[in-house]
Symmetry: C2
Subunit: 348 residues, 2 copies
Amino acid sequence: MKHDVILHDVAKAANVSIATVSNVVNGKGRVSKTTMKRVQQAIEQLGYAPNLLARHLKTNQSRLIGLVVQTTKPGRIQDNPFYWDLLAGAEEIARDHGFHMILVSMGMPEETLDFVKQRQLDGLLVVGITDHRGEDALFRTLDIPCVYIDSYLNDPRLCQVCVDDQYGGYAATKHLLALGHRRIALLIGDIPMDQLRRYAVLQQRWRGYRKALDEAGLPYDPGLMIRLPTSVQGGYHAAAWLANHNDVSAIFSMSDIAALGLMKGIKDMGWRVPEQVSLVGFDNLFMSGYTLPALTTVSQNIVQKGRVAVKLLMELMDNKCSTSRKVVLPVELLVRDTTTKAHLTDRQ
Amino acid sequence: MKHDVILHDVAKAANVSIATVSNVVNGKGRVSKTTMKRVQQAIEQLGYAPNLLARHLKTNQSRLIGLVVQTTKPGRIQDNPFYWDLLAGAEEIARDHGFHMILVSMGMPEETLDFVKQRQLDGLLVVGITDHRGEDALFRTLDIPCVYIDSYLNDPRLCQVCVDDQYGGYAATKHLLALGHRRIALLIGDIPMDQLRRYAVLQQRWRGYRKALDEAGLPYDPGLMIRLPTSVQGGYHAAAWLANHNDVSAIFSMSDIAALGLMKGIKDMGWRVPEQVSLVGFDNLFMSGYTLPALTTVSQNIVQKGRVAVKLLMELMDNKCSTSRKVVLPVELLVRDTTTKAHLTDRQ
DNA sequence: TTATATTGGTTAAACCTTTAACCAGAGGGT
DNA sequence: ACCCTCTGGTTAAAGGTTTAACCAATATAA
């Protein structure tokens, strides 16, 4: 894939210097109408396309944006359709600005840093970082524009975008409380409760849950935290937990993905949703409205999250001294069919 | 993001020429043990990382692989979680070889071509092309290694990877036939039947369907083709079609995504799956086993598809003259709970 | 002895752009 | 006449790397 036609060729064809052609291509410098026409014709005729590698080398930029994703195993992207939506949104805006997205899976810190340096990435979208893992410092060492997604970092100088997770948790719980539920379990990720701070998004949703409980004058019961992996399988197994907790009449799953599995698990036990167990999810995945019964859930727009993140990054790159701001996108409780009034009739 | 330490600095520190450092970095050329040690120490100490832009400019390659995806609107990636799996698999292998993936959304042909040329992409993964749209020719003009995914191109010189779509369609249909179903509808994409050739994957599955019908001595009835978008919504609306075709006792949906919507639609009409309608899907999405009833479907491994595609691409790039081969990955019919014996009792 | 490899390096050109510095000529003001 | 500015370019350096060509010294072979 050798570059067939280069600046030099166009220059010769139009009988001007290389610099002039470059100026025409970039719309910079001073060049008369007539020569511009001549150059443009030559470009058209020869089918010239600039060699971005050379340009980038010279200008010290790559027009590449890294999407830094957490990995389970090093080198293996977490299998979560969530990321595709994020990438799709980001790519859409990036492309409009002449940028492109590239995946950076965060394995070894060293490795990650080297990668960013070697590829000369112009900016980073970092997903799911917290203050409590030292990862934030990592990205601050290489000083390139960063936008943190779903990260809840304390430093006010940082650019961040997330949704109102806490409100989401609050709204979901409040909805269940309003229906008369008193013992509401929380299907949380597969993490020790004392490590919750490391998973900022979950922590926020959890806080919303607690807040709603507090307002209702109900006690917070750690025994109601179901700690299972955020996956369909994880959710499915939560049903077994439920079987041992007959006083629990509702579950708030912090992800739709787990809620789907849970719903299946509950039904496989022969129980009915929502008559015997009410269920609320989080995310509103593409098929969450098409389960039976349709899942009540807190909806967030992940594609939009990707879009906004890149827009912020662009601002950050334009005027370096920009007032770095934090954007909180709204969430919306979608009441569908998996929640209903708490009954006095026990599942026994 | 200026490159702080370059070859030059290392050379000075180790008291050798730039070329020698380059040789050490790349493991080429001839350099004695002792100097190698000295250079490596200098590299370590200064924290040198090669500037890939410069390297790539010199070597005429970018170590970037494009994933060419179809777009609905130009510049907008089709919102299909399918692509994430593909990308995840591809990225995994690519990274092992020092390559990275970049998205190329296929809008205007000109634009796409320019992009590949400008970014100097080393290879392309092209998804869902057919002989019948002139797109294949497009990629052949720029002669860079290509692997076609889900494409069914006739040219034997091309490298292709797909799954056994036809067998999948055959197995699904045969399964339904074995259960006694005679009127089996096909939930196909939102395309005119005379355009089916343009959607190779669907055509293959359709052929499998027909083959099974033929073998059973049953006629092919075009009236049984349900042409609705491949989406949850599309599937949902298929239920309305079903309401007008009471002789149909089973539906084979060519995608799980539509099958999920369809299942919801059927249940919303008050009918039961599988007692009144049997249902088979295609893909085995991550939650297909967790619907209620669990979806019977033809399973394919999309991540693996991405992996194999990149492996093929690497071979193609190593020995240019490689015997370009076509890899067909297996599919597997997973009989779960949405299919049962055809009953004589009508839905009326 | 002389011709010839081999070892361990160095020099310099090349990859294709961008861009600062320079320059010739024209026009205008005093 | 002089100085200054403006227009429309050109020249050349620089960006960081790879690599072919070269070279001095030592070892090997005839």
